[in-house]
């Protein structure tokens, strides 16, 4: 188990960092609000040459801030690296330029149209880009970026080809510099506010869940591709707004704006400010514009080297970006000062609570196991098969699992247990056969649909959201499962909070609610898994080798927890396991699989005493068991 003191300290630090961030944000916003009068005053005092120049720099920073924050919606919140974001910015700028120059439409109407055009291009190209994942997604965005660039450069009649569109006139209402500044500030402010609300909403929670663990996100009922496309389109929309504001400071729009290397700007600015915070990239925009302005005249190329060095430094050394500096400072200070924390009590308290619960659970189990009632059939497999090449991994399996049952599937390695589980949970499609759950045909349905129907998975170590807190793990899973993550407003962290805490108490994780899930011990992480399944309202939980890699005492605790929770909440369990003590200590029904087929089914006693099973399997399994036992 990891040092509990470290967890406590990280929690305290997080609160301090939060406060420092809010303070920084307020200072920034105030500074941005007073920029024009202050510049004018300084000009009056002869301290700066031209207030206009400073104000235009401010406008540039604001536009850049909007562009970078929209980029960070993808990079920071959903973990997507796009090389096409400059293209949507360019589409926004081109839309305004074309509408203004060729159709003499007012700037304000064009400003309203640009984000819609950018979003339309974004949703179409995003749909294509999201056919692939991760690295290949990034490469596809690169291709799309160059495709849009080629169109901008080649479509002379509309875009003016490689000359672009020049001489765009600023509307009369905005020729006064402070007015221009506040106009842009208002548009950027509203856009940032909308995005801020979005990131804190249940919708934002779904994005974080995807960034943390795609597979898990899918299994709690999040339509991963759908959300990725949504955030991609939203990012394109706001890039379109930023692009539409661009002609206010630069009167020409050229195809080069869409070239893939232009993405350096949002990437650098985002990393400069920090991917981990909402306003970080906005802060980065002001730093970037300042650097750019002070260095680019005298040292244009040194600036490139410097920016590259900054990105490299951030990626290698400060993964959180500059906005995480308060956190780093706090960490450094702790290291120097060596603050004491009341960590050990919290740890032992948590342990104690769990021990009591377990003791109670064992009693309850002893009482309840007296009268076993077989409920109705909950899961029914009919002639289920799946082949890989010539190999039939699962071969015409017929199986009925009753409500409230604790059903174990055993068999040697390669018997088809894992494939069978994957067929049930929708991670694989069966070659033939049907899967019925509670009278509903769920054959071949995608994993998130199966999860929603009420089949949960638990006890796979990778299946949590490591950087979210334990409580958020549950809350976000509930939001997803109950279809709330489509909601782009409201505070995700406040929804289902009490319910999550109650569930955490039930599995003995209450004291750890505010720690990042990834910091917990293996056993506790599996308990989070179980709690997530409960949070999803799963009626049936699939456990794939639940105790693999656990020590003997961890195994005992984990299985007691599972038995107790299953009994308390009338859950149906289906699990496969090598450890025979776990199988016979937990299961009410046992199915033996061999070479993809079902060999036999019965009570643990029937299986144990069946000479055929004993001869063929238990002998072999016992040996496995002994080999695995010391782990």
């Amino acid at each position: 188990m990891k040092n509990a003191g470290a967890r406590w300290r990280s929690w305290v630090t997080n609160r301090r960092v939060d406060r420092a961030r809010w303070a920084l944000a307020i200072v920034l916003l105030l500074a941005a609000a007073v920029l024009p009068p202050v510049s004018l005053y300084l000009e009056g005092q002869g301290m700066i040459e031209s207030a206009r120049f400073e104000i235009v720099l401010g406008v540039t920073s604001l536009i850049l801030a909007l562009w970078a924050v929209s980029y960070n919606l993808m990079l920071g919140y959903a973990g997507m690296v796009s090389f096409a974001h400059a293209a949507y910015y360019g589409v926004g700028a081109y839309t305004v330029a074309i509408l203004l120059q060729r159709y003499q439409i007012s700037y304000f109407a064009a400003l309203a149209a640009a984000p819609l055009v950018a979003a339309t291009v974004g949703i179409i190209t995003g749909f294509v880009a999201l056919r692939a994942v991760r690295l290949y997604f990034s490469l596809l965005t690169l291709a799309i970026s160059q495709l849009l660039y080629s169109v901008a450069e080649g479509w002379y009649s509309v875009t003016g080809g490689d000359n672009g569109i020049n001489g765009i006139v600023t509307p009369d209402q905005l020729t006064d510099y402070p007015t221009l500044y506040y106009f842009v500030a208002a548009i950027v402010g509203v856009s940032l506010l909308l995005m801020f609300v979005l990131t804190r909403s249940p919708f934002g929670a779904a994005l974080l869940a995807i960034r943390e663990n795609r597979e898990r996100a899918r299994s709690v009922g999040i339509n991963v591709k759908g959300y990725e496309l949504a955030v991609y389109t939203i990012a394109a929309l706001f890039a379109g707004v930023a692009g539409a504001l661009f002609p206010l400071v630069q009167p020409s729009v050229v195809p080069g704006m869409l070239f893939w290397t232009e993405n350096a700007t949002p990437v650098v600015v985002t990393l400069l400010g920090g991917v981990g915070s909402f306003l970080g990239p906005g802060f980065g925009a002001f730093v970037f514009t300042g650097l750019n302005n002070s260095l680019s005249r005298d040292f244009p190329y040194q600036l490139d080297v410097l920016l590259g060095a900054i990105v490299l430094g951030v990626v290698l050394l400060v993964p959180g970006g500059f906005a995480s500096v308060p956190g780093l400072v706090a960490q450094l200070r702790r290291r120097v000062v060596g603050e004491e924390t009341p960590s050990i009590e919290a740890e032992t308290k948590g342990e104690a609570i769990r021990m009591i619960d377990v003791a109670r659970a064992v009693e309850a189990h002893a009482i309840q196991s007296e009268h076993i009632e077989r409920g109705k059939v909950l899961l029914k497999l009919e002639g289920l098969s799946r082949s890989f090449g010539g190999l039939r991994a699962v071969d015409s399996v017929n199986l009925e699992i009753h409500e409230g049952d604790r059903h174990a599937i055993i068999g040697p390695n390669g018997a088809g247990k894992s494939t069978l589980f994957n067929l049930i949970t929708g991670r694989m499609r069966p070659s033939t056969g049907r899967v019925w759950f509670d009278g509903r045909d769920i054959t071949g349905r995608p994993a998130h649909v199966v999860a929603k129907a009420g089949i949960g998975r638990a006890f796979q170590i990778t299946m949590i959201f490591p950087r979210l807190t334990v409580r958020q793990n549950l809350q976000y899973a509930m939001l997803a499962h109950r279809g709330r993550t489509v909601q782009p407003w409201g505070l995700a962290d406040r929804i289902y909070r009490d319910e999550a805490i109650e569930l955490l108490d039930a599995v003995g994780l209450g004291p750890h609610a505010d720690l990042p899930a990834g910091q917990l011990s293996h056993g506790d992480q599996r308990a989070i898994e179980l709690a997530i399944s409960l949070a999803l309202g799963s009626r049936m939980i699939l456990l794939d080798e639940p105790t693999a890699g656990m020590s003997a005492s961890e195994t005992r605790h984990a299985m007691e927890l599972v038995r107790r929770v299953a009994t308390d909440r009338n859950l149906t369990l289906l699990f496969c396991e090598h450890d025979m003590s776990v199988v016979f200590g937990t299961a009410r029904t046992v199915t033996v699989m061999h070479q993809g087929r079902i060999l036999m089914q019965g009570t643990p006693e029937q299986i144990r005493s069946n000479p055929e099973v004993q001869a063929v399997y238990l002998g072999e399994l016992d040996m496995d068991d002994e080999e695995a036992a010391p782990a």
Partner: protein, 292 residues
Amino acid sequence: MDPGKFLLFATGGLADAAYLFIVAAGLSLVFGALRVINMAHGSLYMIAAMVSVVVANRLGAGIGFLPALLGAVLVAAAIGAVIETTVLKRVYGHEHLVQLLATYAIALIIGGAARLIFGSNYRTTSTPIQGSLTILGYSYSLYALVMIAAAILIGLGMYGLLFRTRLGRNIRAAVSDPELLNASGVNVTLLYTAVFTVGAGLAGLGGAIVAPSQAVDPTIGDSVLVLAFAISVIGGLGSIIGSAVGALMVGEVISFGLINPTTNSFALAFVFIIMTLVLTVRPWGLFGRPEA
């Protein structure tokens, strides 16, 4: 179309395919063995092209070509070795996101440094082999034909390296079964440095070979990088044969795209349409293998 014109465009496509193949093969090799997409690959190409032009002009066109080529390749390979040991070593096994951003940062640094050293104006040098050949009424630059021949030789050389040497065997093992490689007692750290250095050297070779036939400036790497991506993605990242086929497709598409005014503005667009189609239908490319 008359056969003479057809041959002219086909040969033009081959000449483009030649240097693009060399660059893309380096990118693909690095990805195959190291699982890292090197966003700085185009920058290495550019640096080598700049170095070779400067050295060739200093020594005198013609005689200067071979020393310039050699010097440029060595510079690119040396920078590659430095990048691998100082940066990439720290990001192996990280998310793709970190690797993309780290190598992208290197591309920014090299680009800025190149402008500092060479300035941002374009430079030219004359081709080491002058003269032209007339076939079916159209004239062909001899140097373009030499480039095609060189690419074929380099392709065969790479095949020899990969399938006839110990290093090649280890590289192939790194591509197909990294765990086995670890178990077999090969110095993986050194192997990775070697692979990346060879990859960087290939980027440099492509740059140095193409330099005499076009104007070079510190931005030429940006468009070549995207083409190299397109090629290795179409052919399959990690596959040398894939790079050859991808380079042929891309070279010919661009060349024939330029054939008439209606398509010539969109010649490059066709390449990215093909890349998009391949990535959506078969993300691992024509000759690649799906990632586990």
